[in-house]
Amino acid sequence: MKHGTMILAAVSVVLLSAVIAAAQDAPINKEQFEKQLGEWLPGMGKEKIPERRDSQQKLQEVCFKVGAPGREKDRAVVCEVLAEALGTDMPGPTRIWLLKQLQYTGRDECVDAVAKSLGDKDDHVRDAARRALANIPVKRANDALLDRLSASQGKFRVGLINALGYRADPASVGPIAKLLGDKDQATAAAAANALGKIANADATKALGAALPKAPKALKGPFADAYLRCADKMLKEGKTKDAAAIYNQLSGDGYPKAVRLAALQGKLNAARGKNK
């Protein structure tokens, strides 16, 4: 009898696990998820960091699941609810955790809420929002970053430029190019780097025009970005255009490392190779 009881218990555990697993894979009901999130939210921002684990991980588990192919509707429901929650009053750590989930799972439905967090008084929240927008693969996320650019300054502005460079959207070239002449050298260097990542024809042209006017301290970053544009051209088969840039950068007035890289580029162009 005891043996039979044990078997029955084991079977029940297996069945219960299957039911729970199936429930987790069931379509997400918005009201139920809102209720569930409401139960988890207080734990996510607890003052003692170890006490945040349980509720944060439960939310993340859901986000990881609904990010799977074929679960777009569930993903959108979850992220809508997270975006709505972002609009309510909650501690910084909670906001940051929600933004982290949206960084990897959010799309169009959350852009407005995330963008609003770019203006949060807590700079860690602002940074989390910036990183989320950098990684949300919709055009409106790029627009949201661009919208903040002109009003921003200092480290945050550099961060916005970096996020735009990360996204490498050609639509960012115009606004970023205007910052190549910024009196803050960190801003100008970040702008050059971002253009070097986009590396399309407009970015190349902007860098080419700015390079002769760049102060000595910025010659290296600007030249490096310009080099990357040349490398991209070479890869696209625009050998002559690439060679012209390599030729320019192998001349006097550039850091030794840039001249060496440009020389290598010239050799690659001559051999018809691309990196």
Partner: protein, 405 residues
Amino acid sequence: MSATRQITRRGFVRGAAATVAAPWLVPGSALGADGGTPANDRIVMGAIGVGGRGSGDMGGLMGFKEVQMIAVCDPVPAHRERAKGRVDGHNKNKDCSMHSDFREITSRDDIDAVMIGTPDHWHAIITIDACKNGKDVFCEKPETLTIGEGRAMVKAVRRYSRVFGGGSQRVLGDYGTLPRRVRGRAVGEIRECFVACGGPSKDCYLPAEPLPKGLDWDMWLGPAPWRPYHPNLTRGGFRPFRDYSGGGMTDWGAHRFGSAMFAIGVHKEGPVEVIPPDGKDVKLLTFIFKNGLKMYHGGTGNLKYVGTDGELPGSDKQPQGDVEIEGYRGRGLLGDFVESVKQRKPAFRDIEIAHRATTVCHLGNIAYWLKRPLKYDPVKEEIVGDPEANRWIDRPKREPWTLEV
């Protein structure tokens, strides 16, 4: 002004100043008269990240007569002070400079190469910065935190024609004759391989602790998301945590997956599929390569190869003919780096190979976190058909840091 000045390789390279017609007295040491290495053959280095492992590598590099260590960098004062003491003792002077910001080392004209022993989340940024400043790089494993970083590092190393050596001495060192025997088809064609290492990384829930005086926490964190200080993180305990490292998957995985891929000959490729255990049919995380090779996480205590003609270890079979281990220049992994710098040739654990090995580890982590199979394009280096999983290929960095490549 001193009547004597050392004429160095760098002095000549700088041009006219070194060739002024003035009476130079050249110390014998510059020419290697006292048994030292002539200045022109010296590799002057800076060590960036000199905690536990980093200081070990620093010491190992100083053991080569060609290497002259002159600067150390670490945001933890105790680490850099201890490292300076060691360097000064070795050099028999007090000239080693100390820094908290790596850029003070990478921007120096008198430094040829850097050793990077920081936590993983810094490896890419410092490597790329070093390359852009004309420095060769020895970088501890795991060489990358993300797949995107790895490719960025490859681009920078190639663009600036730098030597990059990755820190996986275990690829050859731990496994004796195994790589040669596998390469030499001692057990035929390898169909399966089992690799032991720890599990995936996870989020960090260490409590906040008071920040020790003088510790530059902002610099330690660098590109990683902000969190309060905890001493475990600066004492080598960062490894389990996703923001700084890849857990056991990249810790011993960088060695063992790297070793397995090298031995089998797929070290310049990548898998096309990654399947996490599902509690049913798939017992072990499985990587599938284009040629059908299956590589498993686990199922052994170390490394195991299953070939068409037997298994290794567990067989006495020897390679069929001579087997060359390409790219290895001898003298151990650090010596291989030193020789590669001297010969201007790719190191044994060149950045492309390091990147491919750590890519496998990162893909494993992503599959474990998301608990679903992934299809991967090793040429485009993208996760295919799963846009949300593909967002883990790289990560935006905390301001003001970014990858500059």
